[in-house]
Symmetry: C2
Subunit: 372 residues, 2 copies
C-alpha cells in the first residue's frame, strides 16, 4: 500500500506521520460540483483549512475551477491571496472598524454582519467613488454572526440609500443542518427567504456541506463546503466521498503487563489478565484529544485493531496489543490512528466530538506529506 511504502522510508527519528491526500480532496470537490451542479461551490478554508494546510488545499481547488473561498480573518485572507490573484475571498469575521483599507489592499470581500458594517462599507465606497463588493449576512437563528432583528429591519428599510455596495450574495447559516429532521432547518429557511425576498436579483447562499442531503429548496445559488472536502460526516458512507487524512504514530515501547497492573494517569484502566501493551507516540499535544479515552477508541496495526487503554497523556497513549501477532509489535512500528481502516467519522462516531475537531490540531511534531 502506498502509505506503507512512504512510512517505510521515514527516518527513525520521525515520531509520526500526517498524510493529506490531495487527490481525494480533488475527488470530493468534484463530487460536490456534480451533485450540486445548479449551485456555485465555494470552499471554506478558515483555520488553515481546518488544520490541513490552506495553501495546498487551495491550489488543488483552484486547479479544479473553484473561484470562491471563505476564511475567518483578514490575515487568513491575506495569506490566501498570496496563492492566487484570481479568486474571490470572503472574510467571515466581517468588517471591523478601520480595516477597510486592508480589504482593498488584499482585494478581500467582507461578509457584513451588522448594519454598522454595512454603513461603514458603503461610506468607504462613496469615498473611493466605487461600488464595494460584499456579502450581507443575515442571522436566521445561530445567534452568532449576521444581522440581528433590528439591523435587518434597518437595512431593509434603508437599503436604497446604499449606493456604493455591490451585494454579491445574501447569506445565512443553519444551526442544526447535520440533523436533517430538525424543524429548525425549515424555520430558518423561511426566515432567510423572507429576508432575501427584499433583495430580488441578488444571489443567495444558505447551506454548507449538509446541502448534499438537504432538500433542493435549501441549496440556493452557492454552497459553502468545509468539512465535506475531507469526506467527513458521511453517514453510512452513502456518498462517494474519499478519505483525505492519514495519521500514523509509532510504537515507542512494547511492554509486558501483568494482571492487576494499572495503566496511565489516575490508573483508570486495570489489566484483567497478563498481556502486552504498546506505548504510542501520539498524545493530546499531537491532536489526539484527551477526552477520546472516554469513548474507547482503537488503533490499527497492519489491519489489526488494538483498543486504547488508560488516559491519553500529552505525548503518549497506550494500546492493548495482547491479541495482535507478535511479529507486528516492535519498537518503531507504525500504527494507524486515522486512515483507511479508521475514518475520522469512525473515531468520533457515538462521541460528543464533531469530525472537524480531529484535523484542527494535528501533530506539529509529525512529518507532513501532501499526496498528489
Amino acid at each position: 500500500m502506498l502509505i506503507q511504502k512512504k512510512l517505510s522510508v521515514c527516518p527513525e527519528h520521525v515520531v509520526g506521520y500526517v498524510g493529506v491526500d490531495l487527490k481525494a480532496v480533488r475527488h470530493n470537490f468534484c463530487y460536490f460540483k456534480q451533485k450540486l451542479n445548479h449551485t456555485t461551490i465555494a470552499a471554506v478554508l478558515k483555520s488553515n483549512a481546518y488544520g490541513l494546510g490552506y495553501q495546498q488545499i487551495a491550489q488543488v481547488l483552484i486547479a479544479e475551477g473553484c473561484k470562491d473561498f471563505f476564511v475567518a480573518t483578514i490575515e487568513e485572507g491575506r495569506e490566501l491571496r498570496c496563492v492566487s490573484k484570481n479568486i474571490n475571498i470572503y472574510v467571515l469575521y466581517g468588517l471591523y472598524q478601520n480595516t477597510e483599507e486592508s480589504f482593498v489592499t488584499y482585494n478581500l470581500i467582507p461578509v457584513l454582519n451588522t448594519y454598522e458594517q454595512i454603513k461603514r462599507w458603503d461610506q468607504f465606497g462613496k469615498m473611493r467613488s466605487k461600488k464595494n463588493p460584499c456579502v450581507i449576512h443575515y442571522d436566521a437563528g445561530m445567534s452568532r454572526t449576521g444581522l440581528d432583528y433590528e439591523d435587518a429591519e434597518n437595512f431593509i428599510k434603508n437599503k436604497d440609500q446604499f449606493k456604493h455596495l455591490d451585494i454579491l450574495y445574501v447569506m445565512s447559516h443553519l444551526s442544526a443542518s447535520e440533523d436533517v429532521q430538525n424543524p429548525l432547518n425549515k424555520e430558518q429557511l423561511e426566515k432567510f427567504e423572507k429576508f432575501s425576498a427584499h433583495f430580488p436579483g441578488v444571489q443567495q447562499s444558505l447551506t454548507a456541506t449538509p446541502a448534499l442531503y438537504m432538500g433542493k429548496e435549501f441549496q440556493k445559488d452557492m454552497t459553502r463546503i468545509g468539512y465535506g472536502l475531507y469526506g467527513f460526516w458521511n453517514p453510512h458512507r452513502q456518498y462517494d466521498l474519499k478519505n483525505v487524512l492519514y495519521v500514523y504514530s509509532r510504537i515507542v515501547q512494547v511492554r509486558q503487563s501483568k494482571k492487576g497492573d494499572t495503566v496511565g494517569y489516575g490508573a483508570t484502566h486495570t489489566m484483567q489478565q497478563d498481556g502486552v501493551l504498546a506505548t504510542l507516540s501520539m498524545g493530546y499535544a499531537d491532536g489526539y484529544h484527551r477526552f477520546l479515552h472516554n469513548y474507547k477508541p482503537y488503533v490499527c496495526i497492519d489491519g489489526h485493531k488494538a483498543p486504547l487503554v488508560g488516559r491519553i497523556s500529552m505525548d503518549f497513549c497506550v494500546v492493548d496489543v495482547t491479541h495482535i501477532p507478535h511479529d507486528l509489535i516492535y519498537e518503531g512500528a507504525w500504527v494507524e490512528m486515522i486512515g483507511e481502516n479508521i475514518l475520522v467519522d469512525d473515531l468520533v462516531f457515538g462521541t460528543q466530538f464533531v469530525p472537524h475537531e480531529v484535523p484542527i490540531h494535528l501533530g506539529k511534531r509529525y512529518h507532513w506529506e501532501y499526496i498528489s
Copy 2:
C-alpha cells in the same frame, strides 16, 4: 494595567492576543528552587513547552541557572540545543533503533526505557570507547514508558556487564501524584526505591510538579517541573506561584437577542429573556476546547463576568453580556478568556480537563507576545 495598555495598541485586524509573562515563569522557577532546594530542578519543555514556546521559556530558565531539560523527541532536543550548548537535554521517547548518532550529534541524553535500549547504548559506547551518559527509566506503575518487570530484572542481573554507560539518574514517574492521598503514590515509591537500591551512588528522580506538596521521601535528587512553571494546579492558590498566561479575544459582533432565541449549533441554549449577546473571536481552532461548553465557563470584560452560551464553534464562541455595562460592549472590545481574573485553574476547575490541555493549542491566529 499593563496588558490593557498592550491591547490598546494592537492593530484592528489582530483578532486575538496571547501574552506569556516570562517574569512570572522566572518567579515560579525560583519558587521551586527555593522550596525544593535539596533537589535539582529540571524543566520539562516537551511539546513546545506545553505550547508556550520552548525557546523563550528555556532562555529565562537558563539565565536562572537551570541546567537540566526534558523533551519528548530527538527533534525537540535538536531545537533546544540551538538555544544553549551548556545544558543537559534528556529525551523521554528513548533511544529508538538507529538514532544513536543523532544523540551524539546534538549532545542529547537518552532516557533508556527498555533493556534493549540499554544494551544498544552500551554497545554504541563500546564502539566509541566512551562512557555514554543516560538516564535509566524504571516503570513503577504508569505502564507507559520505562523498564517493565522482565527488563528491570534483566538489567539488575546483568548491570555489571554494561561498562559504557554513565548513568546520571534512575527515574520513574508517579501515576496519581496530583491526588496526594492516593495509596498508589506510596506503592510506586516503594517499587522505585526497591529498584534504585540496586544502583547505590546513582542519583534519583521520581516526582514532577506535585513534589511541592508531597512528602520529602518522594523528592529525591531531581524534580522535573512542567506545568508548575506556569503556576497550574495550585489548589486553593496556597503556593506563591504567579500566572503566566494571558489570552484575550475580541468582540466580533454585539447582538440583540429575544426571549426564546436559540444560540449556536444544535440550538443547545435558549434565551430565557430578551438580552444582549457578544460573539467572540475564539473557537476550538484557537484552543478554546469545544468540550468546555459542557462546563459553563465565563469570560471577563473589564472585570465583569459573562457566561458562555451555546456550543463553541471552530472560530467563535458566544457570551451573554446582558448584565454588563453597555459602554464596555462594542465591536473590537478585548475580552479576557484567561488572565488575572480567570486562571487556567479556574477554567478547568470541576471539569474533566487538566490545566496543561489549555495552553497546548492556543491561538495560532493570535498575536503572541513574551513579556519580560
